[in-house]
């Protein structure tokens, strides 16, 4: 088991901008999960993976930010992100961004090969089974990029199954987009609203008291809608539950 190797695995934690800015506790939950599994976690100076620029058609900026991230993270054994969409940017799109570039393409490919989304890393690489307790029922939303770019579907469920006291209730269409889509949710606010309205209805109909997912953008979108509609569902990143941090305020709840 990798965790038993004497020299600990050095993991560079790429927190993602949303976690860095909006909800540091997801970063700490991620660090705790990795450390509990025997990794040495480091947080190098970091900004954005470049996905907003890439998806807005600004390839030049996307490449500059990608190069910056490659330089910051390439010397770790592994790089872990608590987000399927930012991990997808590094794993799938960095090599694409530098295709044909003799210097950068190999570096992008090398980084992509050792970069993982958090639940995939815990489940597939570390084969770690975090020991946590959670009283209540949760429903899990499969964020699109993690699901379709990285094939993440079984891993979060496998990890949640080991959490004592937790029962997982599947909502209708867990794999359908929540309408966030990065800048889409502001640029096409009305269309985005219609999509998240359906999502919120499915979440509420599941009867679960907590909604979990692996991407903070989607979570903020769904939490914002549930709260606006007065639906009593708490919203958290899956890392918080796996790390046993569920007694802290949920997304959109006042800090104590």
């Amino acid at each position: 088991m990798p965790a038993a190797i004497k020299k600990p695995i050095r993991v560079g934690l790429f927190a993602t901008c949303l976690v860095d800015l909006m909800r540091p506790r997801i970063g700490f939950a991620t660090a705790k999960l990795l450390e509990d599994a025997g990794c040495a976690v480091e947080v190098p100076a970091q900004t954005c993976c470049g996905q907003p620029a890439f998806n807005s058609g600004d390839r030049k900026t996307a490449r500059e930010l990608a190069a910056q991230a490659i330089e910051a993270f390439e010397h770790y054994d592994y790089v872990v992100l608590p987000s399927g969409s930012c991990a997808g940017q590094v794993i799938v799109h960095y090599p694409e961004l530098f295709a044909g570039d003799a210097m950068w393409e190999p570096r992008a490919r090398a980084l992509a090969a050792k970069t993982f989304e958090l639940t995939a890393f815990l489940s597939d690489v570390l084969k770690a089974m975090p020991a946590a307790r959670f009283e209540g029922s949760v429903t899990y939303h499969d964020s699109c990029s993690g699901l379709r770019e990285l094939g993440i579907k079984a891993q979060p469920r496998k990890l949640l199954a080991k959490v004592e006291g937790l029962s997982l209730v599947e909502m209708k269409d867990p794999d359908v987009c929540c309408g966030f889509g990065g800048t889409f949710c502001v640029k096409y606010a009305d269309v985005s609203n219609k999509i998240v309205e359906k999502k919120a209805a499915n979440i509420a109909a599941s009867g679960a008291d907590t909604l979990l997912a692996g991407d903070l953008g989607c979570l903020m979108n769904m939490a914002g809608k549930l709260s606006r509609e007065g639906k009593q569902v708490r919203v958290r990143h899956i890392a918080e539950v796996l790390a046993g941090m569920s007694d802290e305020p949920a997304i959109g709840e006042p800090e104590r």
Partner: protein, 474 residues
């Protein structure tokens, strides 16, 4: 006179679509059916994914040698007694078809379903010249009665509820008894059939589209679920096929590869109810069939896509799966896209054919959820192609200034990690001041968000500054 483009108004169109109670009802009713039927059909075919790879490779091969296959196709159409007309533009295609109708003194033409004729605006072109087009596909017939265009590739009247159709039939079919019962969909179908039967017998020209053109035989292939296409093409004096150039396939066997994929992906069936192969005009001894067989091959911008960043879009076989699985299409329907082709395939194809200045909204109106690519039978990387359009727009400064500058400011900070840490740290503390209750109900510059949802307020400090405190200064 091509179909007018209303795509720059996507946002306004979407707003109207969201407020249209009938449309929302129709969309909600159709959403699940397509998805479930496709899923069931695909699960029954273990080699489905291998078939997709095969179809993708075959299309790529065809597109790399399109000129050769088109020439072979033309030779074989002529050899079997047909005529081939090359049309560079929509106008040319319409002129050619009008010319044939005029020569045959046609007052009316029967039409099978054809998206290419929608692209050229053929119906209004013919009407303006005194020729009445009669749509014979049930969905097309319904929208023709309503004066609308199709809102979906294979279900043109997807946006209409059954109740609306009943009202349309009562309004249009005044010769029928008003007390008749039209409660069941089957009674609507029977009534449309009865109304159309006579018309088939009295037209000089039948026009159909083509799902595939077979180079080795010079045949055209259509699939329908009502058999209307067969009547359209066999009963008229002349059968005109209108098709775009990328529909050609090398052999009959290749056509079958695509037919197996098309039916399963589009309607969840092993094969469409009717699959009709047409080769040439009536030969001596044939009991029926048209006396003339014409094929109008439309380019309309497609040859410009060859060898470029959007060539993969030409693999499309028009199954509709991408829109059937698209959250944006589910929310606003097909008409909001503002031209002929809706959904993800339309978001890529429309700017290719009408220009990014006119079609640029569409590839932006996507969450990039990737479900379209996941279900595409010929594996078109639709999100990547939409992103290619966004890059084209960005290079040409076509995006709204606000979005461009907003992103530019963000990028300027993100490229300077030290500055980024200081600035974001301050900004989050500031934002936190207003979000003491855990959420913000209004946020300047983000009203698109807060109009519909609360904005969860930030914890207050950034992860990077808290982490530094935890691990001590280094």
């Amino acid at each position: 006179m091509t179909q007018p483009v209303n795509s720059p108004q996507f946002k306004e169109n979407a707003r109207k679509a969201l407020d249209d109670a009938y449309l929302q009802k129709a969309l909600a009713r159709s959403e699940k059916g397509f998805i479930e039927r496709r899923k069931a059909a695909v699960e029954k075919l273990p080699e489905y994914d291998a078939l997709r790879d095969n179809a993708r490779d075959l299309k790529d091969h065809i597109l790399a040698h399109l000129d050769l296959y088109l020439e072979a196709y033309e030779r074989n159409v002529i050899a079997t007694g047909g005529h081939v007309h090359w049309a560079a533009t929509a106008e040319e295609a319409n002129e050619i078809i009008f010319g044939i109708c005029q020569r045959l003194n046609a007052k009316a033409v029967a039409k099978g379903k054809s998206m290419i004729s929608e692209e050229t605006g053929l119906n209004s072109y013919l009407e303006a010249r005194g020729i009445r087009p009669i749509e014979t596909d049930l969905g097309e017939y319904i929208i023709q009665l309503r004066g609308e265009t199709p809102s979906h590739l294979i279900a043109p009247a997807l946006h209409v509820t059954k109740e609306q159709i009943e009202a349309d039939f009562r309004r249009a079919h005044t010769e029928l008894p008003p007390e008749r019962n039209l409660d069941e969909p089957t009674s609507l179908l029977a009534e449309a059939r009865a109304m159309l039967r006579d018309k088939f017998l009295n037209v000089e020209v039948g026009i159909t589209g083509a799902n595939f053109l077979i180079a080795e035989t010079g045949s055209s292939v259509i699939v329908t679920n009502e058999g209307n296409g067969d009547l359209t093409q066999t009963l008229a004096k002349a059968h005109i096929v209108i098709s775009s150039i990328e529909k050609v396939v090398p052999t009959r066997e290749d056509a079958v590869t695509f037919l197996r994929l098309l039916a399963r992906t589009a309607s969840g069936t092993d094969l469409s109810v009717y699959t009709t192969f047409s080769t040439g005009a009536r030969r001596d001894g044939d009991p029926d069939g048209p006396l003339e067989y014409h094929v109008v091959l439309l380019d309309n911008g497609r040859s410009n896509m060859l060898g470029g960043k959007f060539q993969e879009m030409l693999r499309c076989i028009r199954c509709g799966a991408c829109m059937n699985h698209c959250p944006v299409f589910h929310a606003v329907g097909g008409h909001a896209y503002g031209w002929v082709y809706p959904g993800p395939m339309g978001a890529v194809l429309t700017p290719s054919l009408v220009g990014v200045e006119q079609g640029g909204q569409l590839p932006n109106a996507s969450t990039f959820c990737g479900r379209c690519e996941e279900v595409c039978p010929v594996r078109i990387p639709l999100p990547k192609l939409m992103r290619n359009w966004r890059e084209r727009e960005f290079e040409r400064h076509l995006q709204p200034a606000f979005a461009r500058y907003g992103l530019g400011i963000w990028a300027a900070f993100a490229k300077r990690p030290a500055l980024y840490r200081r600035a974001t740290s301050l900004a989050m503390k500031f934002l936190r001041l207003f979000g003491g209750k855990g959420r913000l109900r209004a946020l300047p510059l983000a009203s698109g968000w807060t109009r519909h949802r609360d904005f969860p307020s930030p914890q207050g400090e950034t992860f990077q500054s808290l982490w530094k405190k935890r691990s001590g200064p280094r």
